[in-house]
Amino acid sequence: MIEVRLFATLRQGREKVVMLESQGFSTARDIIEHLDIPAGEVSILLINGFHKTPDTEVKDGDIVALFPPVGGG
C-alpha cells in the first residue's frame, strides 16, 4: 500500500489520508492524477519526508504527502 496524505486546501472534497494499492501507480504524478488534483495545485510533494518531483517513482510502503503553496513563520 501507498499512504497518501493530503493537506490544507487539497483536503476539500477529499479524504485527509488515502490508502492506495501500489500496483497501477508508477510515479507520484499518477497518484496526483488519480486523486483528480489539478497539477498546478500541488506545490510541495514529499515522499517519505523528502522533497521530490512528480516524476519520482513510488513503491509499496511509501508515504506521499501533498501540499498546496504554503507559507508561515
Binding site: F7, I44, P69, G71
Partner: protein
C-alpha cells in the same frame, strides 16, 4: 518633513519627567533606513551596550520605519529596540496591529524612553502633545482589560500598547502587547518597560495617512506592482488567510523537523490534532489583519466563548508537540494567557518544555511543583505554570520565568536549554533543515527564525527549492536572507510580504517614499550594515565568539525518529563559510568589512 520621515524624535526621561523633541538626522536615517536599523544605531551611539538592561540607564526605543503607516502593503509594523535583559545583547522586537501606524501618523519617527518613573506612569501621545499620566490604578491588570479601559478613557480611535503583570514584575520573558493581541514578544522587552515603571503608551493621531511621501505617484505605482506580486502568489493572496501560519505544523512534522518533548524527538504522531487545519475547523471565527495588510494571517478564534487572537504556528508547536500535548483547546487558552499576562508565547512554553525534561530526569522533584507536577502533556501544568510565570511568587516560578537557560543552569544541566544566546529557539529542528541552524546560531538577538527565514527555500520552495539536508551554499543564502530581512524590518513592512515580494519591490517602495535612489545592491548593503551594527552592539555588550552556537543536542545527538532520523546539524562546517561570506573573523567584522560598510566609527572597537 519630507520623504516619509517626520524628522522628529521624542526623548522622554521618566526620572525627571522631561520631554524633549529632537530632530531626526536624515542622513543617518537614509544610511540605516529606520526601524530596526536606525534604532540599533542610536542605541549603539548612545553607549547603551554596556549598561545593566533593567537599570534606568537602559533606553527603550519605539521606532517606526519610513513605510510605517504608508499607503503600501502591510505597513503597520514598528520595532522595540533596547538592550535585552534575557540575552544581555541587542533586543529588537517587531509588532503589527495599528499602534505603529498611529505613532507615525501622529508625526513621530521614534520615541526614546529613558530613566525610571518615580511612580507607575503611562504616556499619552496625541499628535504633538505628549503627557505623562498616572498609571497606578492599572497595576496588576491584565493586558486586554487595560487596553479596553484606556480606550474608554481616551476614546475609540486611541491605540494602546501596554505590559501585563509579567512586565510589571520584570519577568525576563515579558512581552510588550499592543492592540490586544499583537506582541513585540521576544527578548524580554516587556521587562525593560516594567523596569522603567512605564505601564502603557496610548496614541491618537488626527492624520489618517502619511502626508510627507517624496513621490506620491511613484509610490502608487510601486504599491500597485507590489500588490500585483502579492495577489499573484497563492501564499500571500489566499494561503495565509485561510489557514494562518499554523499551516506549518503538518508540513514541518512531515519533514521530520517538528521538535517534540524539548527536542528529544523530531516527529510528533499527534501533530494533526494541533494543526492549522484543525484550528480552522474547530475554532476559527475569521482571519485577522494588521494595518493595511492584504495577507491577513491573523487568527480570530473562539476560546471557551471568548473571541480573541488565536495562536500562531510557534505557540501551537511550543505548547503542543514540544510539551507533548495534543489538546488544541488548551493551547488556545495558554496562548491567550500569554497575551493577558504579557509573556513571550515562544520562550514561555519552551521553558515549560525544558522544565518538563528536567522533571523527567529527576532534577525538578514533584514536591518542588506546588501541586502541579511538570509531566509531559499535562494540560493542567501548561495552564498553571503559564500563570505562575506571568506572575511569579515562589523560587521555581521565578526561575522558570527567567527562561530555560537560567533554569537549566540552576539544575546543573545547561545542555537541556534549547536556546541560543539564552533565547529559546523556535519550531524548526536545525538537524533536519541545515540552513536554519546558521540563522539560529548567528542571529544577533539569539534563538530566532525571523532573522533569516531559511524555511522558505529549504522547505516551502520559496523563491526556489533547496535540499534541506545539505549544507551547500546555505551560508550565503542565510546571509542574504538576513540582510534582506534587516531591510524589511527597518522599512516597517511585515516580513510575510517577502513570501512573494523580493528586493526589487522593496527598493522601489523605499525610493518612492523617501526620495532616495538606491539600487537593489545598495539596499542589500544597508541590510548588511544593519546586521553588522547589531553585531558591534553585541560585541560592546560582551558577546563572545562561542555565543554563536547551537545546543549540543543538535550537533551531537542524531534525530531519533521520523523521516529525518539520524541527522545532526553540520554547523561546524557552515559557520566558517558564513563568517567568510560576512567578512568576519571569529564572529566579528574585520576593520576592512566595517570600512566597506561605512561603519568607520566602529573600527577598533
Amino acid at each position: 518633513m519630507a520623504g516619509a520621515y517626520y524628522e522628529k524624535i521624542a526623548r522622554i526621561n521618566l526620572s525627571t519627567g522631561e520631554i524633549k523633541v529632537e530632530p531626526l538626522d536624515l542622513e543617518l536615517a537614509h544610511k540605516f533606513i529606520g526601524g530596526r536599523g536606525l534604532g540599533t544605531k542610536i542605541l549603539y551611539d548612545e553607549g547603551v551596550a554596556t549598561v545593566d538592561p533593567l537599570s534606568p540607564e537602559n533606553k527603550l526605543i519605539y521606532i517606526t520605519g519610513p513605510m510605517t503607516g504608508a499607503a503600501a502593503p502591510s505597513t503597520g509594523r514598528y520595532m522595540v529596540v533596547t538592550k535585552s535583559p534575557l540575552t544581555g545583547m541587542i533586543a529588537c522586537s517587531n509588532s503589527g496591529g495599528i499602534w505603529g501606524a498611529k505613532l507615525k501618523h501622529a508625526g513621530w519617527d521614534a520615541i526614546i524612553v529613558e530613566g525610571q518613573a518615580p511612580e507607575w506612569t503611562y504616556i499619552s501621545i496625541e499628535d504633538d502633545k505628549i503627557q505623562l499620566l498616572d498609571a497606578r490604578e492599572y497595576l496588576g491588570m491584565m493586558s486586554e482589560e487595560m487596553d479596553t479601559k484606556l480606550k474608554e478613557k481616551h476614546g475609540p480611535t486611541a491605540s494602546v500598547l501596554n505590559i501585563g503583570p509579567a512586565g510589571e514584575k520584570q519577568v525576563l520573558l515579558a512581552a510588550i502587547m499592543n492592540d490586544k493581541d499583537r506582541a513585540a514578544g521576544r527578548s524580554g522587552v516587556g521587562a525593560v518597560m516594567g523596569s522603567k515603571r512605564l505601564k502603557a503608551i496610548v496614541v491618537k493621531s488626527s492624520r489618517i495617512k502619511l502626508d510627507n511621501i517624496a513621490d506620491e505617484e511613484a509610490l502608487k505605482a510601486a504599491t500597485k506592482r507590489a500588490m500585483d506580486v502579492l495577489m499573484a502568489n497563492p501564499v500571500t493572496s489566499s494561503g495565509l488567510k485561510q489557514l494562518g501560519t499554523a499551516i506549518l505544523v503538518n508540513i514541518i512534522n512531515n519533514v521530520g523537523s517538528l521538535p517534540t518533548k524539548n527536542w528529544q524527538e523530531s516527529y510528533y504522531e499527534q501533530a494533526e490534532d494541533i494543526s492549522g487545519e484543525a484550528l480552522a475547523e474547530k475554532y476559527l471565527v475569521r482571519p485577522g489583519a494588521c494595518y493595511r495588510c492584504p495577507i491577513a494571517c491573523g487568527r480570530i478564534i473562539n476560546v471557551n466563548g471568548h473571541v480573541t487572537g488565536g495562536p500562531e504556528y510557534e505557540p501551537l508547536w511550543a505548547y503542543g508537540a514540544n510539551c507533548g500535548n495534543n489538546d488544541l483547546n488548551v493551547i488556545d487558552e495558554c496562548n491567550m494567557l500569554c497575551n493577558e499576562y504579557g509573556l513571550d508565547a515562544i520562550s514561555t512554553p519552551c521553558t515549560i518544555a525544558a522544565a518538563m525534561e528536567l522533571y523527567q530526569r529527576g532534577a525538578i522533584k514533584e514536591e518542588d511543583c506546588a501541586g502541579v507536577p511538570l509531566e509531559w502533556g499535562s494540560t493542567k501544568a501548561l495552564v498553571e505554570w503559564t500563570k505562575r510565570m506571568g506572575n511569579p511568587e515562589t523560587e521555581l516560578d521565578w526561575l522558570m520565568s527567567s527562561g530555560s537557560a537560567r533554569l537549566c543552569e540552576h539544575y546543573g544541566m545547561p545542555e537541556l536549554s534549547m536556546s541560543v544566546k539564552k533565547q529559546e529557539m523556535p519550531a524548526y529542528d536545525a538537524r533536519g533543515i541545515q540552513g536554519i541552524g546558521i540563522t539560529y546560531a548567528t542571529s544577533n538577538r539569539g534563538g530566532c527564525h525571523v532573522r533569516g527565514y531559511m524555511i522558505s527555500p529549504e522547505v516551502l520552495g520559496l523563491p526556489q527549492q533547496l535540499d534541506r539536508t545539505v549544507t551547500d551554499d546555505k551560508a550565503v543564502w542565510a546571509k542574504t536572507f538576513q540582510d534582506l530581512t534587516a531591510v524589511i524590518d527597518s522599512m516597517g513592512h511585515c516580513l510575510f510580504t517577502s513570501f512573494a515580494m523580493g528586493a526589487p519591490e522593496y527598493t522601489d517602495l523605499l525610493n518612492a517614499a523617501t526620495g532616495t535612489n538606491w539600487t537593489v545592491e545598495q539596499v542589500l548593503e544597508i541590510g548588511d550594515r544593519i546586521y553588522n551594527i547589531e553585531r558591534m552592539f553585541n560585541k560592546a555588550a560582551g558577546m563572545k565568539p562561542e555565543d554563536d552556537r547551537l545546543p549540543k543536542r543538535l550537533l551531537n545527538d542524531p534525530i531519533v525518529n521520523g523521516p529525518s532520523k539520524g541527522m545532526v546539524s553540520q554547523l561546524p562546517l557552515t559557520l566558517p563559510q558564513y563568517y567568510e561570506a560576512r567578512g568576519w573573523v571569529n564572529a566579528f567584522p574585520t576593520d576592512e568589512t566595517l570600512k566597506k560598510l561605512g561603519l568607520d566609527e566602529c573600527i577598533g572597537k
